[in-house]
Amino acid sequence: MEWRDTGVLLGLRRHGETAAIIDVFTPDHGRHLGVVRGGTSRKIAPHLQPGAQLDLVWRARLEDHLGAFTVEPVFSRSAAAMADRTGLAGLNAALALLSFCLPERAPHPDLYARTLALLDHLETPALFPLAYLGWEQRLLEDMGFGLSLDRCAVTGAADDLAFVSPRSGRAVSRAGAGAWADRLLPLPPVLQRPYDAPRTEIAQALAVTGHFLGQHLAPALGDKPLPTARQRFVDGLARQNNSPMD
C-alpha cells in the first residue's frame, strides 16, 4: 500500500528510541497516523512542529497497518504562531480539537480547507479569534452538531433572534423564548454573520460553540473531556478583554 498526499501535522509522540508517531490531517485521507523513522533526530525533529505543512508518502504492507511516513517539510507555521500569544494558543486549540474529534482515515476536505485558511490567519493576529470562531462552527457542522440559526425554532420568524436552544442548537426569537429565556443560551450576532465583532462578543460566541463541543460532541465520542488547549485559548481571550490596554 502506498499513497502520497499533503497534510497538517496535528501532533506527535516518541516511538521507541529514535522514531515518532505523527498524527496528520490530510485532504484526501483524512486524519492519519504513521511512524516516522528517525523522527526525533536533530535533522527531522525541527520540521515536525505542530501546524507544519508536510508532503507525505505513506507505505504499509497491509491497508490496516499503522504504516510509515516519509515526510518532506513544505512550510512551517512555527514562527508565525510563536510571534503572538493568542495565535499560538489558537493553533494549539484547533490542532487538539481536530485530533480529538476526527475519526481516523475519513476525508473531511472542506474542513481541511477551512483549517488551512485558519492557519493562514496566524499571520494576521487581530483577525485570528474571529476566524477561529468560524472554524469551530464549521467543525461542529462537519461532526454533525451544526448550529441552525436562520429562523426561530418556535415561531419560524427570521428576525428578533436572540437565543440558542442548548439542546437542539437552533435559534429562538425573543417572542418564541417567552418564559424559557433564562434556560437558553444567548445568541451573539457574530455567530449568525461574521463581522469585526468586539472580543467580548467573540468570547460569548465561543461559550456557545464550547457548550456544543463539550455537552454534545464530546459525549458522542466516548465522553473524554475536551482538550485543555481549547480552554486555555478561551481563557487567554477573556484575559485580553479584561486588560486595560485593550
Partner: protein, 197 residues
C-alpha cells in the same frame, strides 16, 4: 567464550549509554580493562560515589550530590535573576556559555497537549513559590523554540506577569549559521526579530 560473562554483562550495560552501540561499547570496555589501574578502578569508584549521592536539588531541580545544588548554595548567585529551563541538560548548556550569573529553575518537561502533560506534572507550582520568596526581579524563560516550549513559556508568563518582569531568549540565526541552510521558520523568526545596526 568461557569466563567472560561478567565482561559481556558490562558491555551490555555500556551499550545502553547514549551515543554508544554494541561495537563501540566493546571497544570501550576492552580499553578500560587494559587500563585497569589508571582508568577502570577510578571510574568504578567515581560511579559508585555518584550512584550513592546524586539527587535532584530540592530548590531548582538541578542534579547534584547534596540536597541543595552548588548554584542554589552560593549566595552570590542570588542576584534576583531566575532562568527557567526545560531540562537539566539545558541548565548545563547555559552554564557552559558562562553568560548567566543568577539561579535556575528546571521544569522537567513542557506542556504537551498530546501527551497530556499539565502544569502540575511540571515544577510550575514550585516556580511560583520561588518568585514569591526569593526576591526575584526578572524571570528569563529559556525554553526551546518549539511549539510546546513556547506554549509553556506563555503559560508561565500568564501565571507570573502580575508579579515579576519576564523575558525570553531571542529566536533567529545561530552563530556560524548560513542562511541557505536555515529552515523557513528560523529565517522568518529572525526577520521578525531584526534589529537596527
Amino acid at each position: 567464550m568461557p569466563g567472560t560473562d561478567d565482561i559481556e554483562a558490562l558491555i551490555e550495560q555500556m551499550a545502553k549509554l547514549p551515543g554508544l552501540g554494541p561495537r563501540s561499547a566493546r571497544r570501550a570496555v576492552l580499553h578500560l580493562i587494559r587500563k585497569r589501574a589508571i582508568l577502570l578502578a577510578p571510574l568504578a569508584r567515581a560511579m559508585q560515589t555518584v550512584a550513592d549521592t546524586a539527587r535532584e536539588c530540592v530548590n531548582c531541580g538541578n542534579v547534584g550530590t547534596a540536597d541543595l545544588c552548588d548554584i542554589c548554595a552560593q549566595d552570590s548567585r542570588a542576584n534576583g535573576e531566575l532562568c527557567v529551563v526545560e531540562d537539566v541538560a539545558d541548565l548545563w548548556a547555559m552554564e557552559r556559555a558562562r553568560v548567566f550569573k543568577g539561579r535556575y529553575h528546571v521544569l522537567g518537561g513542557t506542556l504537551s497537549a498530546l501527551d497530556a502533560i499539565g502544569p502540575d506534572e511540571l515544577r510550575i507550582p514550585k516556580l511560583k513559590e520561588r518568585v514569591a520568596t526569593e526576591n526575584i526581579r526578572e524571570v528569563i524563560l529559556a525554553l526551546n523554540a518549539t511549539i510546546d516550549g513556547q506554549t509553556t513559556a506563555h503559560y508561565i508568563a500568564e501565571q507570573l506577569e502580575a508579579h515579576v518582569r519576564l523575558s525570553s531568549l531571542a529566536q533567529g540565526v545561530p552563530i556560524g549559521g548560513e542562511l541557505d541552510y536555515l529552515d523557513d521558520g528560523t529565517i522568518s523568526a529572525a526577520m521578525r526579530a531584526r534589529k537596527a545596526l
